[in-house]
Amino acid sequence: MRYLPLTDADRKEMLASLGMESVEELFSDIPPEVRSPALQITSLSEPELEKHIKELGEKNRDLAELQSFLGGGIYQHFIPHAVDHLSGRVEFYTAYTPYQAEVSQGTLQAIFEYQTLVSLLTGMEVANASMYDGASAVAEAALMARSITGRKALAYSAALHPQYQRVLRTYTQHLGLDLVELPWTEKGQTDLDALPEKDFSALILQNPNYFGVLEPVAEASRVIHERGGLFIYSFSEAVSLGLLPPPGSLGADIVAGEGQSLGIPPSFGGPGLGIFATREQFMRRMPGRIIGEARDAEGKRAFVMVLQTREQHIRREKATSNICSNQALCALRALIYLSLMGEKGFRAVAEQCYHKAHYLSQALEEIPGVKLRFRGEFFNEFVLTLPQEPEGFLNFLLKNSILGGIPLKKYYPSLKQEVLVTVTEVHPKENLDKLVHLLKEWRGGLK
């Protein structure tokens, strides 16, 4: 077995030094009646494994082959090749949590730089070293708001990513929270007037929301602060932060979103990157790992895990969260991505997403029977209403090697004829024109 360095002679010698003849003796503490049956898994050689996985891969149709207008939480963006090369360095990916800071300065400095970038992007004072994903980050933000305010009522928008909503409900189901869902208006924005008159711990809004629509963020922040609650700003498309005002400038108390767009491939939904940031006053209430600047014995700048007294290995059941890891390698990818793109590149990606999405939406809207469901402003995603339920159209597109969008009735039963369409910079104009052409063709074929 190529991963096991011990030879048979080694094993014999080592057992002999333990006064044993057989390795079985090392397992004499296991009751014989519960010994495992032999596992019926056939081993594959390296070439056989490669062939097998390739065959499985061939049963998929990937985004290199298909033109995709799918978004809704996971986005296809251009990733510079250097991101793979650098995050693929064994010194990064075969290390673990930087418990021994003196031999983990690579990971520690990278996370410190990542935290700095998150603070810049979000306009918040402090950020953690990352969470599992956007959905669990939002759930953790809700728990943090409850612990800060001591209040049980929590409002969230129905236009928050439907899976984030489900994760939020799952996380909080036994904690006695009173969850209030706010409906959306005809513009596709959260209806802030529907916020009941009571004390809330927080209001959670996603911006752009799941429908791609830009929320009245400043207004939402004002409304919830008037009630003494915190404003939690979520996002699933991190590239929007390249164009929209930073949430910190609009009154956000906690920012919790998904960073997959920043140099991480779609990966069938995971791994991703939970981004989490807050105000300095709440720093000690923040969940997750945090890296801080330090000095070594010679006065040299160094980095180390800080504020560990919040965490489970010290506080156990009184910890701010049960999380004991982060998505370090994904955070590293985001850092390398943003370092390469820089101010100009990241801005260019955001602008291209914006302009291409608007070019496409305008062209699609001109097709009779097709319209934008919501009139609110959007960033790079929009909801299209088709003349009938979208399965026929999406299948027609798939025959033309296009993934046309996400049918929304799966998450919102009232949106039967609606499709969420996402555009990023990966689409040249000809892709957009082709989608318009095909929709016209399909529309013409309808009775």
Binding site: Y93, G106, E258, S321, F346
Partner: protein
């Protein structure tokens, strides 16, 4: 001193290349944000910056990393390449199922392998890490109890357990009661009996535990907990000590989480991404998160979202799929016999290393260990030394330190897990270093107190760093 990427930034430098915008512009009706402050650096400078940073890391591929309960084994290279294949990395989770058949088939079979290995019925891949799995597993148990009208809100956890166990229990609204360990390092049966009550929802157990010891009374523990109406939760952090030898499901565990980044060789990534799939016995299957991966009679794979009793979702989509892919590749490489051999070598390595160190360090529980063992450095207090000093000195010898100061029930603990992917020679070199350090402690304690001496930075002042935390540039 190493510069931050921001300190290398200079206006006018570019590290990206994109096509020109090829559609007409639509002026945004909102105010576009001002300068963000992202660094502007050229590609070769970015590459050098991160390459040099990487070289300041200790890693499994550069040396022995005996971090207890973390299973820092070798991460096979083919698995990394397979996970980068565009056929997997470039899949969108909202694609129609017909375009995802390979990915779903992979998860379907991996679920069955994990069920076979652990003796459970079904698995969910949604939890992204071990602690996330704990939360999921406890929510499943609560849903099961709630449906039976059982008002149970107490979770029993041994004093040797990882801190995530009580933290996860608290997240499910449960109270935590600690159970003592006995003289042999296992669950103290008398203490357990005194704490069992109709309010007990579950006992969470890591077996082998964080002392590296298999609980010899596991069947009795299981009987007692079940008789009191509770369920048994298996923390899979230490599956590497028993995989192929005994299945948690056969010893009475009702729910398990596994750490694919430990037992099944997916890399730790500097802290993540990992994966913490959760497996359950038949009675708990209805509560598993949505969606589950199913196969229809025609052999087509699909996602089942309609599960009325499901606890919901704990993460978006299907969890860390690419990590699951690496575990799948590993399991197929090892095969059933290879997994058993993996455990044998892991346990043999641990016992051999323990043998080499016996007599040089205090050994609070002297019995056959499984994949790891715990020594105590408390006698070094005589020289005014702490376990941290021993750990830092080990860095000078070119080794990563073991897990230190844990488990809490051993004063000055060194928790050592060599894994099966280390040679006899490496274990011997490590033992020589630890023995030498013990001698240095007696003859030249300053050497330890001031360690490390030859690492990229010297000992870091953590107290000062925590006084006024600086979390960004």
């Amino acid at each position: 001193m190493s510069e931050l990427i921001f300190e290398k930034s200079k206006k006018g430098k570019t590290g990206f290349s994109l096509p020109e915008l090829d559609v007409p512009q639509t002026p945004p009706p909102f105010e576009v944000r001002q300068e963000i402050g992202l660094p502007e650096v050229s590609e070769p400078e970015v590459v050098r910056h991160f390459t040099l940073l990487s070289q300041k890391n200790y890693s499994v591929d550069t040396g022995f990393y005996p971090l207890g309960s973390c299973t820092m084994k070798y991460n096979p290279k083919i698995n990394e390449d397979l996970a980068r294949m565009k056929e997997f990395a470039l899949l969108h989770p909202e694609q129609p199922e017909g375009t995802l058949q390979g990915a779903l088939e992979l998860l379907y079979h991996l679920e069955r392998y994990l069920a076979e290995i652990t003796g459970m019925s079904r698995f969910t891949f949604q939890p992204a890490a071990g602690a996330h799995g704990e939360l999921t597993g406890l929510l499943l148990i609560r849903a099961y109890m709630d449906e039976r009208g059982e008002k149970k809100d107490t979770v029993l956890i041994p004093d040797s357990a990882h801190g995530t166990n009580p933290a996860s229990a608290a997240l499910t609204g449960c109270q935590v009661i600690e159970v003592k360990s006995d003289q042999r390092g296992g669950v103290d049966l008398e203490d357990l009996k005194s704490k069992l009550s109709p309010k007990v929802m579950a006992l969470m157990l890591t077996n082998p535990n964080t002392l590296g010891l298999f609980d010899e009374n596991i069947l009795e523990v299981s009987r007692l907990v079940h008789e009191a109406g509770g369920l048994l939760y298996y923390d899979g952090a230490n599956l590497n000590g028993i995989c192929g030898y005994v299945r948690p499901g056969d010893t009475g565990f009702d729910v398990v989480h596994l750490n694919l980044h430990k037992t099944f060789s997916a890399p730790h990534g500097g802290g993540g991404p990992g994966a913490g799939p959760v497996g359950v016995k038949e009675a708990l299957v209805p509560y598993l998160p949505v969606p589950t991966v199913e196969r229809n009679p025609e052999g087509k794979f699909y996602l089942q979202w309609e599960r009325p009793k499901s606890i919901g979702m704990v993460r978006s989509f299907l969890g860390n799929f690419l990590v699951a892919l690496k575990a799948y590749a590993y399991i197929l490489t090892m095969g059933g016999e290879g997994l058993k051999r993996m455990t044998e070598d892991a346990v043999l390595n641990a016992n051999y290393l323990l043998h080499l160190l016996r007599g040089h360090y205090q050994l609070p529980y002297d019995r056959i260990c499984k994949h790891e063992f715990v020594l105590s450095t408390s006698p070094l207090k005589e020289y005014n030394l702490k376990v941290t000093d021993v750990a830092k000195r080990l860095l000078d010898y070119g080794f990563h330190a073991p897990t230190i100061a844990f488990p809490l029930i051993v004063e000055g603990a060194l928790m050592i897990e060599p894994t099966e992917t280390e040679s006899k020679e490496t274990l011997e070199a490590f033992a020589r270093a630890l023995i030498q350090i013990e001698e240095e402690a007696r003859t030249n304690p300053e050497l330890l107190r001031e360690a490390p001496h030859n690492t990229p930075v010297r000992r870091i002042d953590e107290v000062a760093a925590n006084r006024n935390p600086i979390l960004k540039k």
